[in-house]
Each structure stands twice: as C-alpha cells, then as structure tokens.
Symmetry: C2
Subunit: 357 residues, 2 copies
DNA sequence: GTGAAAGCGCTAACAT
DNA sequence: ATGTTAGCGCTTTCAC
C-alpha cells in the first residue's frame, strides 16, 4: 500500500487548473474566478489533502513573530518556569522561521503591564501569548488585538468573556477538589482544615476562590460533618508576621491540615511549619518550585498539585505556531491534567519536566 | 540580527569546490581526493555549519520503514492503548515518508513472538520498536538486530543488558513505592497490606517483582512495624476461583489494603471487591482501563498509577523516527512520570490522554 | 574524482 | 484571473 501523498500538483490536475490557482484558493488570497474556485473546492472535498509542512517552510520566506507577554521570571520562580517553556518552544520553532519575542512585565505593577502590552502591540506581531494577570488591562489589550486581527492565546488564568484562540490551564475548581481528596484521605478522627490564600492581590484571588470552592465542595458532597472547613487570607510579606498569623491559626488543636492556594504561598507556609516542627499538619500546595521540592522531600509538604507553568507556555506557543503555520485550529480550551506530586513520585516528574515528543 | 544561515553552497564557494564534493565529505561517501577533502574540512572547521534539516528531508527520497512488534491489542486493553499510541504516531509521520508496520503476537505464546520477530527481521525494516515480553526470545532477536545494524527501541519493560537506542517506561521499583505511600497515607491503626500478582506468567513477573520490592522497601525505610506486608500470586482465570482465593485472604481481619501489580489484575480484583461490598479495603492498581476507570469513579479503586502505554509507544516511534530522519539521538532511557490518578483528578487526565504538542 | 543539474513540494513573483 | 517559473537547501544522478 504505497499510497503517494497528494500534492498541490495533483489537485491542480484533478481540478483542471494550474497549481498557482490551487495555491490561491488554499490560502484564499482571492484573484480566483468563481468557477475555478468551485472546481478546486470540490476536488479538495473529495480527497484528503495534507500540505507538506516541510516543503512549505522551505518555500516560504515569511517569518512569523510571536510576542509572549509574561511576568518577569526574576520575580517569581513560577514564572521562571513559564519562561523555560517559552525558551523550549522558541528553539523548537526557530528553524521553522517562527521567532519568539518575550516581554516581561512587573508582577506587582499594572502600569508596567499596560506599558508592555502597548509596546508589544505597536510591534505588530503575528500572534500573541499572554498571561492575563491584570484583568482590566488585559481585557483592554485583547480587545485591541481583536481589532487589529492579531490572534492570541492566553494561559494560566482564563478570561472566558473574551474568546481567545485557545486557553491553556487547569480547572481550578477541580484542583481544589483534588486537594480536598488528598487532605481527607485516611483522616478518621474529626478535625479542621483551612484554605490559605497568602499574599495575593485581589485580581488573582478571584481565581484562587475557585480552588477554595472546589475544596469546600468536596466535603459538602462527601457529607462529612466531622470536618470543619475554613478559609483565611493572610497578607504579610514579612516572615515573622506571617508566622504570627499562622501560629494563631495552629493554636486551634483541631487543625489537621492546610491547603495553600499558590506556589509561593506554599513555600512560605512550609518554611514556617518546618521551623515550628509541626509535622503533624498535612500540607497541600502548588507547584514544583525548588523550595517546595525540598519541603516535599523532607516531609513538610505532603502533596503538591503541579500547575506546570512550563508546559502551559510551551503549549501556548505550540498552538499559536501551528495555527499560524499550518492553520491548525487549537482546542478552544486546553485543560492540563491535575498532576499529584508526592514524595515518592517526585523524582519521576523531575526527570521529565517537559513532555518529550 | 538576521544572520543568514550557512549553506552547503557557501562552503563550496569558500573551499573552492563544488557542492557535490562538499556533500560527499559531509556524508563521507568517499570518492573525494585528499586535496579536496582537506580544503573542505578546513573551511568546515572555521565556520559553524548547521545543515538545514527541512531541506534535507525534502531532498531525500528515502522512505523509512519502522516495524512495531507488540501483543495483540484484541487480547488486552492495555495493549489496545499501546496500539493507539502507535496509530497516532503513524499518521503523524505518514506524510514524511516514515511508514509504520505493526506485528501483533500472541501474548500467551512465545512461539508466536518468535515467529513474528523473525518475520519482521526478514522484512529488513530501518528501525524496530519492541515490547520485549518474552525475555529469552527478545534477547535473541535483539542480538540479531544488532548484527544486522537495525536500530531498535524497547518499551514497557527494560532489558538493561542489551543496549537499545532508547528504553521508554517507568521505574517499577519507584512505582511500588508510590503505591505504598498512597496505601499508608493516613493509616493509623495497625494492619496488613498484600501485594497481589494476578495471572502473570513468570517471564513478566520478574518485572512485577520490582514493584513489590519497591512497595516493601517503602515500609522498611519508614520503619512502621505496625504494618504487615505480604505478597501473593494468584493464577486463576476463572472469576469464581479468583474470588475464593481473595475471600480467604480477606478473611484476615487485619487486611487493610491491596496493591495489584497489573492493569488487568486490578480490574479483576476490583470487580470482586465490589461484589463483596468491601469498600473498607484500600485498593491500588494500574492503568486507565475502562473497567478501572469505572471502579475508580465508584470508589472501589482508590488510586491508579498510570503506566500510559499509549504514550510509551508514541514516544518510541517518535524517538526512532527522529533518529532515522534527523539523526537526533534519543535519551538512552526515557522514564515516564508515575502519574497518580484518583477519583478527583481522573477527568483531567481523560481529557488529555495524549500530550498535545 | 568532480561538477552540473534535476528534482523534492511549496511559495511568490512574474508574465499573460 | 490564470498559468508559468524561479527559487528555498539539500540529495542524488549523470556526464565528463
């Protein structure tokens, strides 16, 4: 069964037109008569034409430019990992004439975000990958992009009201349920669990609330009245202050476990729990930050849910590049698995941070 | 910084020879005078030539044939999923002149394996992806391949003494430790856990023993003498017989949990536990087979460790094709993460069975 | 031994 | 609007 692949030349022959015409309809560049158009379209419908990517990239001289806009990797390890995913994707596509330009904004200043997005916009990239940290500014920017017909992919947090080419992230409600499940496992005696939001500006905390709701929902459905669920916002960048808050919370003898909704918060809480030597507290948090990895190995953290920012950005560029290059529509929403990381499977994840393909 | 890439043509010009000559030295096909050789080599040393792989694949007309040898997908859902990974990879590479030929052997008859491998061998494929189920036969076959200089990738179970181009699978010892960790979590009262090997021929059970050892090792290190660990082989294809065996085991009031080392075994044990209504037993097993998924959702199974046979085969072909096509060396051993699947994160895995890229 | 030249499938500029 | 043609960088064949 050596079925030769169909080439543009074949389509042209079948449709009785020239390859130039076929190329024009394939890329709808116009300048094609209604008659020729129909002939080509009908033969296209009959056969399964799959363009030869290799040949396309060789033949074309167009260079696609993708602008990636994320928080400064230096400010936060989570975003440093996101940056790694970008770099990985960038080298992968480099030989295919897709260039990635990165813009780093200040995680704590929306003016910086505003400024960067505008800078990116004037450069007129062919596509944009964005971490929409600042809700209003992001919305404004993305409307601009829609007006300029620049396709965009968003990741990390969803903006369902805008319709991106693709959203990449996790189901945060389910994420909270996973945390709850791990928290409740094998807990027999009555007790209390607290959801901790540590040092999060209100913008982002809308999303963190989803995790909390999922967490609470799990226990509601399970109907286990033996467990008291509470939630607490702590805004203290000073470790000592943070510790004081925590100690008040932990003075309640019923507290059996803590669920921290951010990666950085997880590291902060773990450090304090370790200092206080409270190994009895079950701690569940987010992401494979170096500190979190250590605390997981040491047993201070019991489980991490991996949000895999690295993979998120990687996929973001992947989807966008495939769209620009191959006109392949990505999934409107691409939800990543809620990876449960424990002490024993940690190493197996560290070895293969990125999906080899 | 639009630095043009160096082309063969450039080298030819610099060395004062023709592109044909440059090509000959690049691939050391001989037929080059000592003088020309030196001229080319010296200019090659001066500049950093990176061949354009895109152009290479377009220019070449060689069709690579990859032989994939796995158990009959009809015999076992686990292998059916492996087959899906193959099909996925096959369509991906189809247009790039990499053809995949599959050979299905009988999972229960090594003669069939022997026969199939020989059939594959006489067809002289350019590369082989193999599930080395039958140890001795596999070893013999792979030695043949080495003699014939056919590169091969193995997956699922490792044969460390032979040196494959790449091995794709999981660390089975660690896999057992993960199971143990999940088993012990929150278990306060003393109790007993049993490792179950269900209906496995001795060949394969060598590898299953690794899982058992990892499981035992976890408790040894943890130094929790409160837990009694045992292991049991059950060879009964009849459900009733299997149930009898299990009931004897479960009549021991101390039994708190079971760890089943195979995917099929997991499904079988789960079915019986459900029938016996033993929801008190913590059950940990392998893989997202349809039955296992149901039992996980119903709560009969507490955790599954995903071996992702689909991804394994996909990667196998991926690595081999990249090697043949682009001369890209794959990792000698590619260990997949030990994915922990619970009721709450199950859906997030079902949505994305394969890594999108 | 060596160079010239014809592709590979596609794009894009150029005639018509 | 349509067909022809010259590349893209490399492989491979074929004269010399």
């Amino acid at each position: 069964m050596e079925k030769k692949n169909i080439r543009i030349k074949d389509i042209a022959q079948l449709a009785g037109v020239s390859i130039g015409t076929v190329d024009r309809v394939l890329h709808n560049r116009g300048k094609v008569s209604e008659e020729a158009l129909q002939k080509v379209l009908s033969t296209l419908r009959e056969i399964d034409y799959k363009p030869n990517l290799i040949a396309r990239t060789l033949g074309t001289k167009k260079v696609f430019r993708i602008a990636v806009i994320i928080p400064d990797p230096a400010q936060d390890e989570y975003w440093a990992q996101a940056h790694l995913g970008i770099q990985h994707a960038a080298v992968e596509w480099n030989q295919y004439d897709v260039k990635v330009e990165t813009y780093f904004f200040d995680l704590y200043h929306h003016e910086s975000f505003l400024q960067l997005t505008q800078a990116a916009h004037v450069n007129k990239p062919d596509g944009i990958v964005l971490a929409p940290i600042f809700y209003h500014e992001a919305l404004h920017f993305l409307h601009q992009c829609q007006a300029s017909k620049i396709p965009f992919v968003i990741f990390n947090t969803n903006l369902p009201e805008i319709h991106p080419l693709s959203f990449i992230g996790q189901n945060l409600f389910d994420s909270g349920r996973v945390a709850a499940e791990l928290m409740s496992l094998g807990q027999t005696a009555p007790g209390a669990f607290t959801v901790l939001h540590v040092n999060e500006a209100s913008e982002n905390s809308i999303h963190l609330l989803d995790k909390q709701k999922g967490f609470e929902h799990f226990f509601k459905v399970k109907n286990q009245p033996d467990f008291k669920i509470s939630a607490l916002d702590i805004n203290e960048t000073e470790e000592n202050q943070l510790q004081e808050h925590l100690q008040i919370l932990l003075s309640d003898a019923e507290i059996k476990g803590l669920f921290v909704t951010t990666s950085k918060g997880t590291a902060a809480i773990a450090a304090i729990l370790k200092k206080l030597n409270r190994t009895d507290i079950r701690l569940i948090g987010y992401d494979l930050l170096p500190e979190n990895i250590q605390h997981l190995q040491a047993g201070t953290i019991d489980f991490l849910i991996n949000q895999n920012s690295r993979h998120q950005t990687f996929l973001g560029i992947q989807h966008l590049a495939n769209y620009l290059f191959l006109k392949k529509e990505p999934p409107a929403t691409n939800l990543l698995p809620l990876e449960i990381i424990s002490r024993e499977n940690l190493n197996s994840y560290l070895g293969s941070a990125l999906p080899q393909f």
